[in-house]
């Protein structure tokens, strides 16, 4: 399998604090790759480097033959990277269907399009596709609701629908089940699994919850103090003494 995303020798310091040091990581096409690590390990910094929010001091980030460094967030999305946030980021004042329509328009018409004369509701190509995706995540009957009134789990579903409608090559998931009830967590895991199987989208998951990580990931990288300390299949990671050391100071996982 070929690597879709390659991170090479990335370093990032904030003043005297070395947030990322010599990070090397490669995510294979079609895989589900989890990045875990204790608080302050550099997971969020790494994610912010991937999406163009932070520029690393040294190193390279290559995605599908394109360097992501120096690109604006919207340009990174346009090359095929979508992102789900820790707190679902949706257009709260708009209806569900409009949320998905915006994302559908963005993937069809690009970063800027001055189409001020045609009506959105008469563009069947866009509305049909948006409804199809809402149906896929089970939100079609709520399509005219204002999205800020949704539950946390439904907001996550909506956010996922907005990402999926763009048919991304890579989906970044930042703690996709943070702050959710157990029931919402499980249904989100099921949804993510189903999406993975149906669409074959490569996913990178950053997560605290080991239940989520071990249910989804095919490969896990453990970060500690800004460096990957080990990488492997879930079973291998579970038993690795270095991981237990990093997480629990030597206690057993």
């Amino acid at each position: 399998m070929s690597a879709l995303l390659t991170i090479t020798d990335v370093n990032k310091s904030f003043g005297g604090l070395k947030a990322l040091s010599e990070v090397n990581l490669s995510v294979e096409q079609g895989s589900v790759h989890a990045i875990i690590g204790p608080n302050g390990a550099g997971k969020s910094t790494l994610l912010n480097v991937l999406i163009g929010k932070l520029i690393p001091d040294t190193g390279a980030v290559m995605f599908d033959g394109v360097s992501l460094l120096g690109l604006q967030p919207h340009e990174i999305n346009q090359v095929g990277v979508s992102r789900v946030f820790q707190t679902p980021e949706i257009f709260g004042e708009l209806s569900l269907i409009h949320n998905v329509i915006i994302s559908t328009l963005a993937s069809r018409d690009g970063a800027f399009n001055l189409a001020f004369w045609n009506r959105v509701d008469e563009d069947a190509e866009i509305t049909d596709k948006a409804e199809e995706l809402l149906a896929d995540v089970g939100l079609l009957e709520k399509k005219d609701m204002i999205s800020s009134s949704l539950s946390r789990g439904d907001k996550r579903r909506l956010e996922l629908a907005m990402c999926l409608v763009q048919q991304p090559k890579l989906l970044l998931l930042d703690e996709p089940t943070a702050g959710m009830s157990r029931a919402d967590t499980n249904s989100t895991i099921d949804l993510l699994k189903r999406i993975g199987e149906e669409r074959g989208i490569t996913k990178v998951i950053i997560e605290h919850d080991m239940h989520v990580v071990f249910s989804l990931a095919q490969k896990i990288t453990v970060l500690a103090q800004g460096t990957p300390i080990c990488e492997g299949k879930p079973e291998e990671i579970k038993g690795d003494p270095r991981v237990q050391e990093a997480y629990l100071g030597g206690a057993h996982l």
Binding site: P73, H74, S82, E89, F91, I102, D144, Q166
Partner: protein, 405 residues
């Protein structure tokens, strides 16, 4: 204030499912709007304001507010500098009268164009910031424009005397077509049809048709993909960027469109009264359009026009009153009380009408954050509930199915 308005308007949003507007409903509403505006000379009669000067004002400020609402109502960017574009539009129109022709068409075109060009320059810089910093930047630019118009730009603006049309202006186009030679000061016309002076209602219909056109364009923008992106800017710029959309060009584009609306309104002012003064660019004028939009209901199609109408109506009506008139009204009271009542209430009328406007504005923002439009919506749903419950007064289930508000 920005944050307060944002929360208020989100509160005004319905949370239940609501059918989205379709083309048929839009066309019907547009037809109602057009008929209502064009029949103003009839239905404003009982209100005592059916004279052309007042109705022209409604059309002009309505256009200005419709354009302002495209920026503020959709994107949430609160500009405090729209008076600058209004003033620029007026100056451009008067120069068109002086240099080219007394025909209103080139004046409107140049007014709109220059409003847009100024908005492009000011917006390009101001849109680097959001929220209060954006507002302050636009305010600063507008005040600069105002002060420049009074000082170094006097050759263009004619400073305090205001820019006026005089008999000896070149008017190359008019000269070419031999349309000169009147002894009195020339008046703006539409291919020979006079729009001011003895024109009566013609000037009003001219402005009204322009506003109806402006309203139609605004409606198309509201329903378009472009308009949807503008709402996305207001709601969540972070999500917008990570959805592959660049908010900056969208915000700049609507800022320019909004500036063109203001330029158009400014040139309409020049058409109905062919002079342009710098006071048109003062910050109070910028503030007025903000009040109109919020009072009527920002982010709604019709709200800005209602707000413009309401404020101009109060202005005319309250300025009419003075101490003598109030004395007559309260003459039924004993003298000592009547004197006190008159002296207190006189503070709120005449030159002090802004005090009343301020009170009304406070009440609306606190109790009807969605403006007049929200008020009307509440009223119709209340009436509907009253009629439906009186129809089935006996059945308790009908009452129970109506949720308490």
């Amino acid at each position: 204030m920005n944050a307060a308005i944002a929360t208020a308007s989100s509160k005004a949003q319905p949370h239940a499912g609501e059918a989205p507007p379709n083309k048929g409903a839009d066309l019907r509403n547009f037809a109602i709007f057009a008929v209502a505006i064009l029949s103003m000379p009839l239905w404003l009669q009982p209100l005592g304001v059916a004279y052309p000067a007042f109705m022209q004002k409604i059309a002009i400020f309505g256009t200005l507010a419709i354009g302002f609402n495209l920026l503020f109502g959709l994107t949430g960017y609160l500009s405090f500098g729209h008076a600058a574009f209004l003033g620029v539009g007026s100056y451009a129109a008067v120069w068109s009268f002086k240099l080219l022709s007394m025909n209103a068409v080139p004046a409107l075109i140049f007014g709109t164009l220059f409003g847009g060009l100024f908005a492009l320059a000011i917006g390009f810089i101001s849109l680097r910031r959001t929220g209060i910093y954006f507002s302050i930047l636009t305010l600063a630019f507008a005040q600069m424009a105002y002060n420049l118009a009074y000082s170094v730009l006097t050759p263009i603006t004619n400073g305090e005397t205001a820019l006026q049309v005089v008999k000896d202006d070149p008017r190359v186009l008019d000269a070419m077509f031999g349309a000169v030679g009147t002894s009195s000061a020339p008046v703006p016309n539409l291919f020979g049809m006079a729009l001011t002076g003895d024109a009566g209602l013609i000037g009003f219909y001219f402005c009204a048709l322009l506003m109806i056109g402006a309203f139609y364009i605004s409606m198309r923008i509201f329903r378009s993909p472009f308009g949807m992106m503008l709402r996305a800017i207001k709601t969540n710029q972070q999500r917008m960027r990570f959805t592959g959309l660049n908010p900056r060009p969208y915000a700049l584009a609507v800022f320019v469109v909004s500036g063109m609306y203001a330029g158009l309104a400014g040139s309409m002012m020049a058409v109905v009264d062919p002079l342009a003064g710098a006071e048109r660019m003062q910050w109070t004028a910028s503030g007025e359009v903000v009040l109109m939009t919020i009072l009527g209901g920002s982010g709604t199609l019709i709200g800005p026009v209602l707000g413009a109408g309401a404020i101009k109506y109060f202005e005319v009506k309250l300025v009419e009153y003075n101490k003598t008139k109030l004395g007559e009204i309260f003459s039924f009271l004993p003298d000592s009380i009547s004197d006190a009542v008159v002296s207190v209430s006189s503070l709120f009328v005449g030159g002090g009408w802004h005090l009343t406007l301020g009170l009304i504005f406070m009440l609306v923002v606190i109790f009807l954050p969605g403006g007049i439009v929200q008020g009307l919506g509440k009223l119709t749903s209340w009436v509907r509930r009253r009629t439906s419950s009186s129809n089935s007064a006996s059945s308790k289930s009908a009452d129970a199915s109506q949720p308490a508000e």
